[in-house]
């Protein structure tokens, strides 16, 4: 899932202070699970803004709302007429949601209410960890299921650097060395010899470096077109 984290209220206030009618718009999927931007958190942020506005003697209407997802129109289309009545939408969805919504709100700006942190998992209640970098060319079968791109501070592909100390990364004692984990895991799996091969320079064009990416499933698009139901869900605005 996409993990987000709350922005300091001071930063949010600086964004919203000059608007009269603000909607804090929550997203109830990924960012709700990590307690950053679901409807519940949107409600809290709205209250904090109202309190701040009162303290500063500003007249401001601040409401909140939540939908299941900001990244598929079918979830927010039903409320869009309502949403467009505000001066500012403070979306507490991830950056995908903010971008996607912003393309569809005409003259109303959409600002980010949270920081989008990473693709991660719930390690323990309240603890989230980054495990994938979305590089577009998965090699986890070669590294014991542990990603050196997301989890090595130097994205090294051919083994650890000289900075591994007691199984930890040179960056911090709180960070596991990904290559230490990879070696130990592959020993356990009996596949350590796979690491003897030198992996050549990677083609990063499948990653962010190739520009914004798009996945297009032609058979789905063709089917939707035939059904006359093309809802335009496969990417950005057409």
């Amino acid at each position: 899932m996409i993990v987000g984290s709350q922005k300091p209220i001071e930063e949010i206030w600086e964004m919203v202070r000059d608007f009269k009618k603000v909607l804090v718009f929550g997203c109830n999927t990924c960012v709700a699970i990590c307690h950053a931007g679901g409807e519940k958190e949107a409600e809290t942020i709205a209250s904090l803004i109202r309190m701040r506005a009162q303290q500063e003697g500003k007249e401001m209407v601040v409401d909140h709302l939540g939908v299941m997802r900001h990244c598929e129109p079918e979830y927010f289309d039903p409320v869009m007429d309502e949403v467009r009545k505000y001066d500012l939408i403070l979306s507490t969805a991830c950056g995908v949601g903010v971008n996607f919504l912003s393309d569809r709100t005409g003259s109303v700006p959409v600002y980010p209410g949270i920081n989008t942190s990473f693709y991660g998992a719930v390690e323990a209640p309240g603890s989230f960890v980054e495990l994938c970098a979305g590089c577009g060319n998965c090699i986890l079968h070669m590294t014991g299921g542990i990603c050196p791109i997301a989890r090595c501070s130097k994205t090294l592909m051919n083994g650890p650097c000289g900075g591994t100390n007691d199984g930890k990364c040179e960056v911090s004692k709180d960070i596991d060395c990904a290559w230490y984990l990879i070696v130990e895991r592959m020993k356990q799996l009996g596949t350590l010899e796979k690491l003897s091969e030198v992996l050549p320079p990677r083609n990063w064009s499948t990653s962010r470096d190739g520009g914004p990416r798009r996945v297009s499933l032609e058979h789905i698009r063709a089917y939707e077109a035939q059904e006359g139901q093309d809802s335009g869900t496969a990417g950005g605005m057409k």
Binding site: S153, K154, T155, L156, M157, N158, G159, P160, C161, G162, G163, T164, N165, D166, G167, E170, V171, C177, W179, Y180, V183, E184, L192, L195, S196, V198, L199, P200, P201, R202, W204
Partner: protein, 324 residues
């Protein structure tokens, strides 16, 4: 000869090679580089010119190496994978070769958060590159030199003829994987290897035994790393905080004893510790060179280049071989 560098010639001659280190200054003044080059010239076969070591901005390795070369000291230019993508790397390699540089050490580089172990501000918010890693960079140099091709496949009219080096930390975690780590660098094309500083000679020898069984010592020239200790505090810091470095208690005790012998006299305490540090260095050089499979030593006197002359002479490694 792959490069014809002095370092390559010394190694080919079978005599133990000596490399040293020249740290460029945080300054636009090249005189510091010339001064350091003057201290090292004649006492080593080549000197590594570090590439923004400890993730702190200094005169670039290539520029400082070119200055060292003007001063008659053969440099080993260093290239970290931290700061350049493969386009910049290859452009700089061509430039380095055009300036007359013949040795290049490929390293991952300290992470940008390192900032001289927190002693300087550094640039912890910098974006690191790591387009390629050390093994891959070694492979790129080899491809450029031996096939006359860029990584992407385009031809090079004149190939850069580098003697290719890589670093190796024999005793860092995961220790049992480190020989494989070295093998990968050798398979990628590393002609010489400089190791992390060695104090735990038994640990190093046990790793070298594995290296000999793999035959790697015959496919690359391993130069054992020696970091000249300056004080008991430095040894303790390296033991506790530097990855892959463990310092036997006996060495720390020796330094503490040297410090204590000076009583309250701080200047004398420093001098006595430096003297003891040089003694320890000379012993380590002999122990490393006596280890089968080792082809030389890489002596790092960090911000203490003036110590190299005395060390090399006392270790019986002077004069250095010369060639026509």
């Amino acid at each position: 000869m792959k490069s014809g560098s002095n370092l390559e010639r010394v190694i080919a001659s079978g005599k133990p090679a000596v490399t040293a280190e020249l740290g460029p200054p945080m300054s636009a003044d090249g005189h510091e580089v010339r001064k350091k080059a003057g201290l090292l010239k004649g006492f080593c076969d080549a000197a590594n010119v570090t590439d923004c070591q400890t993730a702190v901005v200094r005169i670039s390795s290539i520029a400082a190496a070119a200055i060292a070369l003007q001063e008659g000291l053969e440099p080993v230019m260093q290239m970290t994978c931290r700061d350049r993508n493969r386009i910049a790397m290859q452009a700089d390699l061509l430039g380095g070769a055009a300036l007359g540089l013949k040795n290049c050490l490929c390293i991952a580089g300290d992470h940008q958060s390192f900032s001289a172990a927190g002693r300087l501000k550094g640039h912890p918010g910098a974006k690191n590159v790591y387009d390629v890693d050390t093994c891959q960079l070694v492979g790129i140099l080899k491809k450029m030199r031996d096939e006359g091709k860029q990584e992407g496949g385009d031809p090079l009219e004149a190939a850069p003829k580098f003697f290719i080096g890589a670093s190796w930390t024999p005793m860092a975690d995961p220790v049992d994987f480190r020989p494989v780590n070295l093998m990968k660098k050798v398979n990628a094309g590393a002609d010489f290897i400089q190791t992390q500083g060695i104090y735990d000679i038994e640990g190093f020898r046990s790793q070298m035994e594995k290296i000999r069984k793999m035959g790697l010592h015959e496919r690359t020239a391993i130069l054992g790393g020696i970091i000249v200790p300056k004080s008991a505090m430095m040894l303790k810091y390296m033991d506790s905080s530097v990855a892959g470095v463990s310092v036997p208690k006996s060495l720390i005790d020796r330094m503490n004893k040297a410090k204590a012998a000076a009583g309250e006299d701080k200047k004398k305490a420093r001098e006595l510790q430096e003297q003891e540090g040089i003694k320890i260095t000379i012993e380590l050089i002999h122990q490393v060179l006596e280890t089968p499979g080792v082809k030389g030593v890489h002596i790092q006197a960090i911000e203490w280049e003036s110590a190299i002359e005395g060390i090399v002479k006392a270790a019986g490694l002077y004069p250095r071989p010369t060639f026509d």
